[in-house]
């Protein structure tokens, strides 16, 4: 029962509990909060995998930006029943889909038996080298993806104004 195992169990429970909370909760803002908790727990899992950089990027992008985007998108919907939305008629289908995915993942692990490597720290040193020398082309394509996202956001916000 090493400390890292305890931390892993705690963070995994938090991530799963957060995910469950997103799906189950009645109040939409609570769902966004549960999402924040779940994404934070994933950041903690990245920390356990010795990738501090990725953990902080997770907190920064997901916790800081994506959750805000989601909350603003929620507020664009009609607010009368904001706090009381509850659409659980499809929960058997959702449960079946989740169990199917879980079964698929478990089967993959059992059949392919991926090798377990000892953890090595992926510091920001190797990251810089890999990202900008070896994977330079995907990096540039990422900028194109961001450009497309920017133009898309522009079009969405202007279409609503009817311009």
């Amino acid at each position: 029962m090493t400390p890292s195992l305890i931390a892993l169990a705690f963070l995994a429970a938090l991530a799963l509990g957060g995910g469950l909370g997103v799906v189950i909760s009645r109040n939409v803002v609570y769902a966004a909060l549960f999402l924040l908790v779940s994404l934070g727990a994933v950041a903690g899992l990245y920390l356990l995998l010795l990738t501090e950089f990725l953990a902080l990027v997770q907190v920064l992008i997901y916790g800081g930006a994506v959750v805000i985007v989601i909350v603003f998108a929620l507020m664009l919907t009609r607010l009368q029943d904001f706090a009381k939305t509850r659409d659980h008629h499809q929960w058997p289908l959702g449960l079946a889909a989740a169990l199917a995915v879980l079964g698929l993942l478990a089967a993959t692990f059992v059949v392919f038996q991926p090798a377990v490597h000892p953890l090595q720290s992926t510091g920001i040193q190797e990251l810089g080298n890999e990202l900008f020398v070896r994977w330079a082309l995907p990096f540039e394509i990422a900028s194109l993806v961001l450009l497309v996202a920017l133009i898309g956001a522009l079009i969405i916000s202007r279409a609503d104004r009817g311009e």
Binding site: N27, V29, E52, V57, V59, G63, G64, V71, M75, I124
Partner: protein, 402 residues
């Protein structure tokens, strides 16, 4: 078996003190006590700093406005913040029935947390810090971004639509200024080559204030906007949307929101002091020379200098409108930050291991670029503003009457 304590002198002293008389198996307890000691020190320092800053602001604003600040409660009004805290503790706790009780309680409690978390990685003296993360600067940005969500929860939890409206506007302002703030630090990183704050302090042969004037300017202004203070405080001004996101909070809940706001001023002050003013070191002499003042004192002097700058700006510059606030962030600060990155990257590429003469050349170039960029861009913006946006045909004012 014990921890690697590196250079942290506070840890080393407390740890070695306790490990001296504890049984060998309980070394982790000594480490824990050492950690807790620094935590208590840090927490107290933050709270005291907040109280002093609040006092300083009220007195200084009074002086700027040719009046005394509070001067009745204790000598020079020094006990005023504590009197205010006591008053707020004893006020009735009114929770509106439309409010979300959980969020209404959570938001004030979590408001001050990012402040403590950020100041955990800042070295406040030579070899004095709680943590030295390899990625300290990115950690500061990440934790700072979380505070926007807390603010939104505070507005939402009130159940008051004006509070929600104020909170949404505040969040829009915060995220708009987050971008130039983050980009302005890239110049510092190019020069320092490390995200760890301890190493950034040691990498400053010249204080980065000289080498990165644009970066300092952008970061300082963006931080003032991030704190919703100074000329960017329209989301909580009394004459505007009542009191913004903290309309419905009373008593200690309001006190905690205010605590979070005043404590949040210490964060950019500490970061600016560390990153631009050379942290705990004497800014005027080369590193390694003997110091005239202890390092902690240097650090606090710099922090209070920056806080004084914030108060000065608040007292001097009038409040901006919301469209001016947003335009300033996106159309002025962001292009400046990009210019800063371009220029600094080219400079570092040319002079990778600069000698002192080359460093001073960089200083000259950067200041010239900063002056040209700020002047040029502001003139361009003003010319753009003066140009009529719609074509208006001249209409005769009066018809000739015979």
């Amino acid at each position: 078996m014990g921890p690697v304590l590196a250079d942290n002198s506070i840890y080393r002293d407390v740890y070695s003190f306790f490990v001296g008389f504890m049984p060998h198996q309980l070394w982790w307890l000594a480490y824990l006590i050492a950690g807790l000691t620094i935590m208590v020190l840090l927490a107290n320092a933050v709270l005291l700093n907040t109280a002093v800053f609040q006092w300083m602001e009220r007195r200084l604003l009074g002086r700027f406005q040719v009046r005394f600040g509070p001067n009745r409660v204790g000598p020079f009004g020094l006990l005023q913040p504590f009197a205010d805290l006591l008053k707020l503790l004893l006020k009735e706790d009114i929770v509106p029935e439309a409010a979300d009780r959980f969020l209404f309680t959570l938001a004030p409690a979590v408001m001050a947390a990012p402040v403590f978390l950020v100041l955990a990685v800042v070295p406040f003296g030579k070899n004095s810090y709680l943590l030295d993360l390899n990625i300290g600067l990115l950690y500061i940005i990440a934790v700072g971004t979380l505070s926007t969500m807390v603010l939104f929860l505070a507005g939402w939890g009130s159940g008051n639509r004006y509070a929600l409206f104020g909170a949404t506007r505040a969040v829009a302002q915060l995220i708009s200024y987050e971008v130039p703030m983050v980009l302005s630090l890239v110049g510092v990183l190019l020069l320092a080559g490390s995200l760890s704050l301890v190493q950034i302090v040691e990498a400053q042969r010249l204080p980065f204030l000289l080498l990165q004037p644009l970066g300092f300017f952008i970061f300082a202004v963006a931080s003032i906007a991030e704190m919703n203070r100074g000329p960017f405080d329209l989301v909580e001004a009394e004459s505007e949307i009542v009191a913004g996101y903290h309309t419905e909070y009373s008593g200690i809940r309001f006190g905690l929101l205010q605590l979070g706001e005043y404590a949040a001023a210490s964060v950019p002050a500490a970061v600016i002091a560390t990153v631009f003013l050379r942290g705990w070191a004497n800014p005027f002499v080369p590193l390694g020379w003997p110091d005239v003042l202890p390092s902690h004192l240097w650090f606090f002097l710099k922090v209070f200098l920056v806080l004084f700058l914030f108060i000065w700006v608040r007292a001097t510059v009038p409040r901006l409108r919301i469209d001016q606030v947003m335009g300033f962030a996106w159309k002025f600060l962001l292009p400046l930050a990009l210019v800063n990155i371009f220029v600094t990257a080219i400079e570092v590429q040319l002079w990778r291991q600069p000698t002192t003469a080359q460093l001073w050349a960089m200083v000259l170039v950067n200041w010239v670029v900063a002056a040209v960029a700020v002047g040029g861009l502001s003139r361009a913006m003003e010319r753009h503003r003066r140009r009529p946006t719609a074509s208006v045909a001249p209409v005769p004012i009066s018809v000739e009457v015979r």
